[in-house]
């Protein structure tokens, strides 16, 4: 009997199945969301009022729990007043996929609501800059320190116990401190991203460095390499593909700190847009903005993965997954 190709442990899928699963990974959640949004029989716990009738406290477009609405209708009928009318609706915080798609498009095409307010793409660009500088500063310090810790046991013992302690401190806890030191604009936001990324970065890269095959170092030594050259000639080129993968993961890490970071001091960037829209209960816009972050993050990562394949043609882990 042939076993189903879907249930073989640790075996790769056929290329077609791979693509199919990849597409389904996005289509399935979307389908679920559509089902909940567009089939009135599913969920829809509220009623959106289309005609308040004789009920004085109702307005057109207001949301009412179904039970309360039913009571009002029954009361009105009983007293022979005009009954309110409404349609089944999901709560306001769950817009339909279509509404979000519209909001996505509108966000780029309509003027900001306040006269000198930023366009959405300007908010996004500001967020990207915050991420970029936070990640850059963290990497400029963290990558060399990580490699040194991985290469030299003394460096590791000197730094890693403290870093292990520090990485458990939640980065947002330093928000107030960062504002006190760096002001209310971009400084503290970048600082939070650095704090959130740096400590993990050093530890992860130190571990990656330690995984280098020691036989390569010995081979280099027997070829006459002096120990100072080992770092630049063997350690760094040897770990480069793995280092690159670590850096991709850490960039994702930096993104997850973005929203918290942007709430510190004056709210800015995509976070400003999201909080503003939530305040007006424009939840479709909120979802659109969240989706934009996801698309931007995934897009960057796919781009970097492709770049990695051409940068490191010898890397077998990449060759295999290509």
């Amino acid at each position: 009997m042939r076993r189903s190709p879907w249930l073989r442990i640790l075996r790769p899928l056929t290329p077609r199945a791979r693509i199919a699963c990849g597409v389904l990974a996005f289509v399935l959640p979307l389908a679920l969301w559509s089902l909940v949004s567009y089939v009135p029989a599913i969920w829809h716990p509220q009623v959106r009022i289309t005609d308040p009738g004789s009920v004085s406290y109702l307005d057109t477009g207001a949301y009412l729990p179904r039970a309360a609405f039913d009571t009002e209708v029954a009361d009105a009928r009983h007293e022979q007043r005009a009954a309110p009318k409404g349609v089944s609706a999901n709560p306001i915080y769950l817009p339909s996929p279509g509404q979000v798609l519209q909001a996505f498009y509108r966000a780029f095409t309509t003027r900001p609501e306040t006269k000198d307010g930023p366009w959405l793409y300007q908010s996004l660009w500001h967020s990207i800059q915050i991420i970029f500088w936070g990640y850059m500063i963290s990497s400029l310090l963290g990558v060399p320190l990580g490699i040194l810790c991985g290469a030299y046991a003394a460096m590791a013992r000197l730094n890693e116990p403290f870093l292990e302690f520090f990485r458990y401190l939640p980065a947002p806890a330093f928000g107030a401190l960062a504002v006190a030191i760096l002001g209310i604009y971009d400084g503290p936001k970048i600082a939070i991203i650095v704090i959130g990324t740096f400590f993990q970065q050093v530890l992860i890269i130190a571990n990656t460095t330690r995984k280098l095959d020691p036989a390569l170092l010995e081979a280099a030594l027997t070829l006459g390499t002096r120990s100072r050259q080992l770092l630049t000639r063997v350690v760094i080129p040897g770990i480069l593909p793995d280092l690159y993968r670590d850096q991709r993961i850490l960039l994702g890490w930096a993104w997850t700190y973005l929203i918290v970071a942007e709430l510190i001091g004056t709210t800015s960037g995509i976070t400003w847009f999201i909080t503003q829209q939530a305040r007006y209960q424009h939840f479709a816009n909120v979802y659109a903005a969240i989706a934009m972050i996801g698309i931007l993050g995934l897009g960057t990562d796919l781009l970097l993965a492709r770049l990695g394949r051409s940068l490191f043609p010898w890397d077998r882990a990449l060759v295999k997954s290509a």
């Binding site: 095959d213 036989a215 390569l216 010995e218 081979a219 280099a220 030594l221 027997t222 070829l223 006459g224 390499t225 002096r226 050259q229 000639r233 063997v234 080129p237 040897g238 480069l240 490191f312 043609p313 010898w314 890397d315 077998r316 060759v319």
Partner: protein, 306 residues
């Protein structure tokens, strides 16, 4: 049945040498000494217990000699060659390379490992250039030298390939010329063909002999394959296990040039019989492994395969 079981052939003594072989050994021993190992001990300390891995190793090897080191597993042959390379320090005793003590790894001793140690991020050509460049040879000169070495072993077509694109045998051929490109005085090889399949291994042995014939190089070759040792070596250093000690330094009486066809010559068989006697009789006494159990029969008595 009786017809097939021929009496054991009367082998000559492995010490008997033909005139030509004796003359070769005389000229070999007349050459300068390249490496001398004297009173070498090595202790490993773990958990407060000290284990003696090598005890009073002594031998010397002459210029352009091919020396094999064999011994049962656990005799410390890998440790020995790592000490020769300078990758480990002896607990006492010393290694002299042309009279100068060895204190650490250096380009005067090349090494080929059992594991593939080509640098995966460098092309074949750049792997061969590596040793030259870290020792200060300019890029262009290193490139010219590397191409010559690759031509010598017939791999110039793969100069721009990465190691992961090569077969195991090719990787080891590149590893050999990478070590030779530095023009070391001695080439240390730690079971370099151990990971290869039998056919590739046989071809590599012939190939290595060809390289050795053409280049001024002394080779110290570790193996646990007795046929391989006899095929390659001028002399074979036999170690015993626990602790590793020199049992005998055998002069191989098989004439040169060597070929795989010599596996059935009387000299070859006599040498092999002696090696087996030294290695297996000794290892049976000191073996730490349990005997494998006799199994109960789990098939029908009439269902025989032998």
């Amino acid at each position: 049945m009786h017809g097939l079981a021929s009496p054991p052939p009367l082998l000559p003594s492995y010490r008997e040498q033909s005139a030509a072989v004796r003359a070769r050994f005389d000229s070999l021993k007349a050459r300068e000494v390249i490496m001398t190992v004297s009173h070498l001990h090595k202790n490993f300390d773990s958990d407060g217990r000290s284990t003696l891995a090598l005890q009073d190793i002594h031998f010397s090897t002459h210029r352009r000699e091919f020396l094999c080191i064999v011994g049962p597993s656990g005799c410390g042959k890998s440790t020995l060659v790592r000490i020769l390379a300078g990758l480990e320090e002896p607990s006492s005793g010393e290694v002299l390379l042309q009279g100068r003590p060895v204190t650490g790894p250096g380009s005067d001793r090349g090494m080929v490992f059992q594991a593939y140690t080509l640098f995966p991020w460098l092309t074949v050509k750049k792997n061969v250039m590596f040793g030259l460049q870290v020792n200060g040879t300019g890029r262009l000169q290193a490139e010219r030298d590397a191409m010559q070495w690759l031509q010598l072993i017939g791999l110039e077509r793969f100069a721009e390939a990465y190691p992961h694109q090569l077969s195991g045998g090719m990787k080891q051929r590149v590893a050999i010329v990478r070590a030779l490109a530095n023009q070391p005085r001695i080439l240390l090889m730690d079971e370099p063909f151990g990971a290869l399949d039998a056919q590739t291994r046989a071809r590599m042995q012939v190939h290595l002999l060809e390289i050795w014939r053409k280049i001024d190089i002394t080779i110290v070759f570790i193996t646990h394959d007795l046929d391989e040792a006899i095929l390659l070596a001028d002399r074979i250093l036999v170690l015993s296990a626990h602790p590793g000690e020199v049992q005998e330094l055998i002069e191989v009486p098989v004439p040169r040039p060597r070929s795989l066809a010599q596996f059935i010559t009387p000299e070859f068989l006599a040498t092999k019989a002696r090696l087996e006697q030294l290695i297996y009789s000794a290892s049976q006494e000191t073996t730490e492994e349990e005997l494998y159990p006799m199994m109960a029969r789990m098939t029908d008595v009439r269902d025989n395969v032998e």
